[in-house]
């Protein structure tokens, strides 16, 4: 794995973007070699999260069939709701029995790194061949800076999703780039009776992503580099004061919103702005309902505004692929992941799911899916720009626990709704998080 810096990504991305209309063109690394012989008579079980968009699972299974035909290895693929994969994977790790490969999320692999097959050779091969992994991949899956404990699959990007016509009516020709302008826009949208809405209930995906962005964008963070809890800070308080103003612009009911609520409200025309994956756009595009289909030209996507922190602070759902040590067929499992990550399979898969999963390998930025429709483009750089869960500390039990216990979401919801003062909400979050970081 070469030493890859963020600056390098920008250079490569610019170059790749220039040639994006053409078939994938990148210089495959001359030394990217792979030698692996799957075990004879191998059979594999794969547990993955249920599809968010239909095209994903259709193409994934088509790729699985290709693998079976090529290697003669039977592969059984089971699906679970993505939130149920974590407990199942944890039980598998704990008991030493279960699927050979599990497609998990966020910091799953950091909960039981010693139970996972070392895939450094595979990560190095893919990294060399496809322009390198984005830095966040290492934060998640190369925790000691040496050994890869899983192979990144990508990230389900969460972006601002908005109605162009409603923004225009409110006097905004494009989506605001900073938090001040964003708040101004939200106020005008509310005055025009076309409010936005962001989930503040226990919505694992939507609430966690936008609440983390908000706090980070003001410089707040749950922990520092040494895993010391520092959420009760002046930066967090400023973020929470901002959240209070922002909440006043929301459509009523967001305190109860779970992940599907904003999709429903948006597609029903009740909100003008929310945060979501590309699935809203996909649902509109593939809908049989003419009323929903009409929305397609009016839906657009934008990156999260930048706050006083001065840099992008987005958080997205990271997706990984783990091979468990109890598998009888580690070489076959590696071969399967390699096969699925190669351009011949990965490229069509990204296209079939219209970019719902953004790539972890820099070279895939040139895939035409990101430019065939300009509305896809904001999701292209998701993995290049995102921060890992548990920023700015190390990932593990504590960061996973804090995320799953909705500590960030509860803090923002309490302050935004006025249930607690910003100070009281931050103090409560500090106390709750300190419990986890005692590990």
């Amino acid at each position: 794995m070469s030493q890859f810096k963020r600056r390098d990504f920008l250079k490569i991305s610019a170059g790749l973007a220039a040639g994006a209309g053409a078939p994938l063109i990148w210089m495959k690394h001359a030394h990217a070699q792979w030698n692996n012989a799957p075990e004879k008579g191998a059979r594999l079980r794969v547990l993955r999260w249920s599809r968010f968009v239909q095209g994903d699972i259709d193409q994934y299974l088509a790729n699985v069939k290709k693998f079976e035909a090529k290697y003669g290895i039977a592969v059984r693929v089971d699906n679970e709701s993505w939130e149920d994969v974590r407990p199942k994977a944890a039980v598998a790790a704990n008991t030493g029995a279960g699927p050979d490969i599990i497609l998990g999320t966020n910091d799953d692999a950091n909960l039981y790194p010693e139970k996972l097959v070392d895939v450094t050779d595979l990560a190095n091969y893919l990294g060399r061949k496809y322009g390198g992994w984005y830095p966040v991949c290492e934060a998640y899956l190369r925790p000691d800076g040496k050994r890869w404990i899983g192979i990144p699959l990508g990230a389900a990007g969460s972006m601002m999703v908005y109605r162009e016509s409603m923004l225009r009516a409110a006097g905004f020709s494009s989506f605001p780039k900073d938090t001040d302008a964003f708040l101004k826009m939200m106020k005008v949208l509310k005055d025009k009776s076309t409010p936005g809405g962001f989930a503040l209930g226990h919505a694992t995906g939507d609430a966690n992503t936008w609440c983390h962005w908000l706090v980070w964008s003001f410089g707040g963070k749950m922990v520092d580099k040494n895993n010391r809890v520092v959420i009760d800070s002046p930066e967090t308080l400023r973020a929470l004061e901002y959240s209070r103003e922002l909440y006043g612009t929301f459509v009523p009911g967001t305190l109860s919103w779970l992940d599907p609520n904003n999709n429903k409200a948006f597609l029903d025309g009740q909100i003008s702005v929310t945060n979501n994956g590309i699935s809203i756009y996909y649902a509109a595009k593939t809908s049989q309902d003419p009323k929903i289909k009409e929305l397609v030209p009016d839906i657009n996507h934008a990156e999260y505004p930048v706050g006083p922190a001065g840099v992008g602070t987005a958080f997205h759902l990271f997706l990984n692929q783990m091979i468990f040590k109890y598998t009888k067929y580690p070489r076959a499992a590696k071969e399967f992941i390699r096969f699925m990550m190669e351009e011949e399979q990965y490229g069509p898969w990204m296209q079939a799911s219209i970019g719902y999963v953004a790539h972890p390998l820099a070279a895939y930025a040139a895939n035409p899916i990101w430019t065939s429709d300009p509305k896809h483009t904001p999701y292209r750089d998701v993995m290049m720009n995102m921060r890992p869960a548990g920023y700015e500390g190390k990932l593990g039990y504590a960061s996973a626990g804090v995320l799953a216990d909705f500590i960030m979401v509860d803090m923002v919801a309490e302050a935004a709704s006025g249930a607690k003062s910003p100070k009281a909400a931050a103090e409560s979050a500090q106390k709750r998080a300190e419990r986890y970081y005692k590990v």
Partner: protein, 284 residues
Amino acid sequence: MLPAGALLLVFLTYPLALGTWLGFTDAKIGRPGEWVGLENFQFLVGDSVARLSLFNTLFYTVVASALKFVLGLWLALLLNQHLPFKSLIRAVVLLPFIVPTALSAIAFWWIYDSQFSVVSWALERLGLIHEYIDFLGEPWLARLSVIAANIWRGVPFVAISLLAGLQTISPSLYEASSIDGATPWQQFWHVTLPMLTPIIAVVMTFSVLFTFTDFQLIYVLTRGGPLNATHLMATLSFQRGIPGGAIGEGAALAMLMVPFLLAAILFSYFGLQRRAWQQGGGDK
């Protein structure tokens, strides 16, 4: 005896013992824990969210169980009358109990939706409200809403069980009390209720246990939100223990439910068990 004993040992005693043990450790999922004594319990006692979940659980159980009892008894008395299509009506009454909880919870999720609620839609059309009710977004309203859903689901169990009890009461008791000039209310108070007490004890014990340990309804409707206002001990225990990975703490939270469940069982055992006079003896 041996198969039954083995089954009890494997599926009841072992998990319970393991859960108890885990509650005293700092086990994480995928990592065995070390004995930490009462640390988990001490933390939970001082944890505002855990305390809130205890309050929510008690409030949820007491209010829902009481209303399920009153409504269930009332329904049982109605169904015990001579009604046309009696069997059909009894079967229909059971429907909410038969429908899988996850499905009925999804129905309530739509009913309570802040943007699409059919209740709000109807009330708005009738001119009774001007904006949709935020059933699951306001803490107290959310608590009452999940209780209403639990009652809807639980009443049939209470009603049908009590109806079975009502049908075991000998008509001669009612005839004798009528001859003595008892009013319907006196008949209910002095004949029906005492004779029904044993079945009430059993039914309400189960009802309280089901309600106290409810999970699916909350998980589908609110995931414990808003602001943890509907988190029950069971849902918080799951959230911390499984997705959160803190299985020791989750187990400790689950263990904290046991004293309350035991208290409910002991109350019904000693307070509502079959009285001696019902078997021809004198009440002590």
